[in-house]
Point group: C2
Chain length 386, copies 2
């Protein structure tokens, strides 16, 4: 079961708050996570050339390597809103800082939702009134995860222990997802003591293997933001073990995001192996996982494997020799293309599908995460603002 | 009305034949066009690295610059079928040549349909028995166009006069369409007298502005083939006029292909203007026309214009400055983004939608052709082989 039930491990010193401030309706739309002490932090952001206003602020603030709070609203992305939009995000940061009595440059803002509409920042400011008194301790991470959802069908959170420290991760999806450097919105909180330089290196490495290998619909959000805050309360940890634990949590969140892609009914995991280079492996894997014809094929379990072949062949920027490729399905590569009956059965009876494409030409591999394409994706997105 | 009704101009000296040879069922699946005399010819083919076996043969044969017949089957693409597949296509060429008493290297084969299944070539060979006696004169181009359809909902053909000569064009779509060098299957027949070198230059130029600017679903077919045959019976023509006429016919077929994209309900024409380079303009336009979120938005007429902004911003391989872009809708750019009501009305009430994105930064422009993304696209492709 991919849907999370509860937080098992709590990092010390994090408090939270979430509410509905009425941006669109009376559903949850505002969340804050606060660290009692300044936390070493790192972040990566979208590579969309037109980032949201909060992303522009976040990029500046993270250069200090220190954060004490994040403030996130859903229902409005504050993108393509110009200098007014930038100023509105700053006002939200100032209000948060003032309420919490912390420096304004220790508050990182995020917004997610519809693009190109002015953010009703007064509602957000009103929602932050008396923030300090309303914080809960320890933080209610599932509640925060729920507050930042857009078309997600369930809140996404994970937790783990590493040495004496704990890590919690929270994320939201679920359309406009082909992260390019970071991902939609995802935040990690830990009480481990780690320098911001180490956090930055570890976060980028983990993101490259997980969030950056995820695609729901090949559309890159303008708001992608991935942040980690480490307040040090639990003391030092083994960095290798910490990175492995974080990687595992990132992988779990990535799978949740793929499985909860808009309209999705299947999680689709594609391994490209024995490719000429890591870059080639990733490009080929992305070409497969983004192909509408492959995505519709796995939706109804149609054993039309020639589409995999087509998707490999159309990969641009990769040199492909006359095909010697081998295609396998199943976690243990137990189904080859010779049996369409077995493949059809496998595709229809599993919610988690594994495809392996052996390029038979080199030594590099890549794993990517995606989902099927359904009528429901079309419906959700044909009516999103109305 | 985009659906063609009849051929108005007939080039001299072309005969045709079409039938059902029973590849999948008893619908039309085989067509031949024959020129009484050898015709100067040119062709461009898919850039998918794993082309179909007929494409491999076509690439060799077209080097002579002379063709006398094309033989096309639908329902099976003869792709990913290995050396047997290659040999089977050759057998079809040999049979065609023998029946028509012409050299085997003047017969260009094409196949379209499902990938990865052996082509039942015996059925095709039987379908070609007594071919010469069954040819109709003049060629029945609409019948030939119907025989090469897969999921197309109507046969696609065009005709025009240039000087004393006529040109007829025929094409089929309608999924797995983002041509990269050529397009799905499209054939032009003319009685103009033009050298194969001139044909090649003119055909490539026209394809670049039309078929190569078309995308239904970003998936590049393994079978894309575009051929022109000019048998010279009508004598010399003005080359500039000929090129303009051919360009116009290619544009018409491209629009038909986009409008008849799988599941499509709208033709979507995107102009990117005032970009830094022609390459940038094309990449940005393709990014917009391939975006699932843009394609679903126009389907139901949702005025969610921020998605255009996102799609421009995510264009890879293009340097984009802080956005000064302007977005207009309508053939005469009469609707700007200030009125979501007017935009919603425009999107809902028109089957042919025009979007213009002014990059405000250079002098290059590009027009591309696409369609909306609907539940029907998903349905068609989730059940294609079953």
């Amino acid at each position: 079961m991919i849907k999370p039930s509860k937080i098992q491990f709590y990092p010390e010193g994090f408090l939270s708050y979430h509410t509905s401030c009425g941006i669109k309706d009376n559903t949850l739309d505002l969340g804050v996570v606060f660290s009692e002490t300044p936390a070493n932090s790192a972040a990566v952001f979208t590579r969309n050339a037109f980032p949201g206003e909060p992303v522009k602020i976040g990029r500046k603030i993270i250069q200090n390597g220190l954060l004490q709070a994040i403030v996130v609203n859903s229902k409005n992305a504050n993108v393509a809103t110009g200098s007014d939009g930038y100023e509105n995000s700053l006002k939200i940061c100032r209000k948060t800082a003032q309420e919490l009595n912390i420096p304004v440059d220790s508050v990182l803002p995020s917004s997610t939702g519809v693009i190109g509409r002015p953010l009703p920042f007064e509602k957000v400011l009103a929602g932050l009134d008396s923030l300090k008194d309303q914080l809960v301790n320890p933080a209610d991470f599932p509640g925060f995860a729920a507050a930042i959802m857009t078309t997600d069908t369930f809140p996404k959170f994970v937790s783990a222990q590493t040495g004496n420290a704990s890590i919690v991760g929270v994320a939201k999806g679920s359309g406009m997802i082909e992260p390019n450097m970071a991902t939609m919105l995802s935040y990690f909180f830990t009480d481990a003591e780690i320098s911001s330089n180490d956090l930055d290196r570890i976060l980028r490495s983990c993101a490259d293997k997980t969030f950056n290998c995820l695609s729901v619909d090949s559309d890159t959000s303008t708001s992608d933001t991935l942040v980690i805050m480490a307040n040090g309360k639990a003391g030092k940890v083994d960095l290798v073990e910490f990175e492995n634990t974080l990687l595992s949590l990132c992988t779990d969140l990535t799978k949740m995001l793929a499985r909860d892609g808009e309209g999705a009914t299947k999680l689709f995991i594609v391994d490209v192996i024995n490719a000429d280079s890591a870059d080639a492996a990733k490009k080929i894997a992305k070409s497969i996982i983004n192909s509408p014809l492959v995505k519709t094929m796995i939706y109804q379990g149609d054993p039309n494997w020639g589409r995999i072949y087509m998707a490999v062949g159309k990969t641009s920027g990769v040199h492909l020799r006359e095909p010697q490729i081998q295609i396998f399905w199943g976690k243990n590569r137990e189904i080859d293309s010779s049996s369409t009956t077995a493949l059809s059965k496998y595709l229809r009876e599993n919610e988690e599908l594994f495809l392996t494409v052996d390029m038979c030409s080199g030594k590099s591999s890549c794993r990517v995460y995606g989902c099927d394409l359904t009528e429901e994706y079309v419906r959700i997105n044909a009516f999103y603002t109305t």
